[in-house]
Amino acid sequence: MSFINYSSREINCKLVYYGPGLCGKTTNLQYIYNKTKADAKGKMISLATETERTLFFDFLPLSLGEIRGFRTRFHLYTVPGQVFYDASRKLILKGVDGVCFVADSQMERMEANIESLENLRDNLTEQGYDLDKLPYVVQYNKRDLPSAVPVEELSEALNPTRVPEFDAIATSGEGVFDTLKALAKQVLTELRKGG
């Protein structure tokens, strides 16, 4: 959960990008990293395999500016999407303040999306969280691909609770910042309620 430091007057929050393998979680972070001014970001760390698949996590620290005299800092994490890295995924969810579920819009990845979403719910429950009570957004990525399922269908299958949802093409950056902003806003609004 968020860390408020009255001494350095900082609020630190942890956002996690979740989703099936190859859905574009790392690509989201890479785009954010590339488009953020140098003084607002730290180093991006990717613990990846030799074939650049995420092995443990990607990490990107962002600084958003001040709110009531407190510097807001967001720590963005991705999880490894491949099914067999479940133990690692659980670890990364510890202390999460907000979750972005990145869905792969392609028809052939529909089952993987559903499986990953169920896995997210289960892993959060195991850590004592409830996805319905956490700041949470859904992103439909790869909208540019020919086999992309219509958004209405994706939404019905993957977003039954109707949380904010965004179309995206992470490789070109479309929708990436909209998704991040919506999630960060929810996290800050939650903080107002007393976290």
Binding site: G65, T72, H75, I92, G95, L188, L191, G195
Partner: protein, 161 residues
């Protein structure tokens, strides 16, 4: 035991005390740098030559490392590995979990020994644990939420490019 999923709030007094423990440990152990990191990867205090380091990345990786080792412990039905040691050619890293909530990280080189570091860490851990107890106690009593006054406008302003 502290509630790990609870929001961590540190006030100036406790941060000052933690900083003092870190500064003393750095001098007594002749270490290069000391980091006090929350298990979720947030840096609480740093001492020594920490300003030369990317402490944000280090904190995140240290927490990831401790979390992974904790996962191993769970699988072999061990409660927790409270200490870890990474030996390097020039610099080594000693990590200790204190009060189940924070990680005390010591980076040291040849100007000291692992034995001395361990000895000093033991003493510092006890002091740190006492401060963390205070933090936990304070968290239990209701605190004023300084963010209750945040407006939608404040939040929107953050995102004005």
């Amino acid at each position: 035991m502290t509630n790990l999923s609870a929001q961590l709030v540190m006030y100036e007094e406790e941060v000052r005390q933690i900083q003092a423990v870190a500064d003393r440990l750095q001098q007594d152990s002749r270490a290069r740098a000391i980091l006090v990191v929350d298990k979720n990867g947030q840096l609480i205090a740093a001492s020594g030559s920490a300003s030369d380091l990317d402490t944000t990345s280090l904190s995140s990786l240290v927490a990831g490392n401790v979390a992974a080792t904790g996962g191993i412990a769970k699988l072999i039905e061990e409660d927790e590995f409270h200490g870890q040691f990474h030996e390097g050619k020039g610099i080594s890293v000693h990590m200790t979990i204190v009060g189940r909530r924070v990680i005390l990280v010591v980076l040291f080189d040849k100007s000291t020994t692992h034995g001395l570091v361990r000895l000093r860490v033991k003493k510092a851990s006890v002091e740190l644990a006492a401060v963390l107890e205070e933090v936990a106690k304070k968290a239990e009593s209701p605190q004023v939420n300084v963010f209750a006054e945040i407006t939608d406008q404040d939040i929107d302003n953050l995102f004005n490019d």
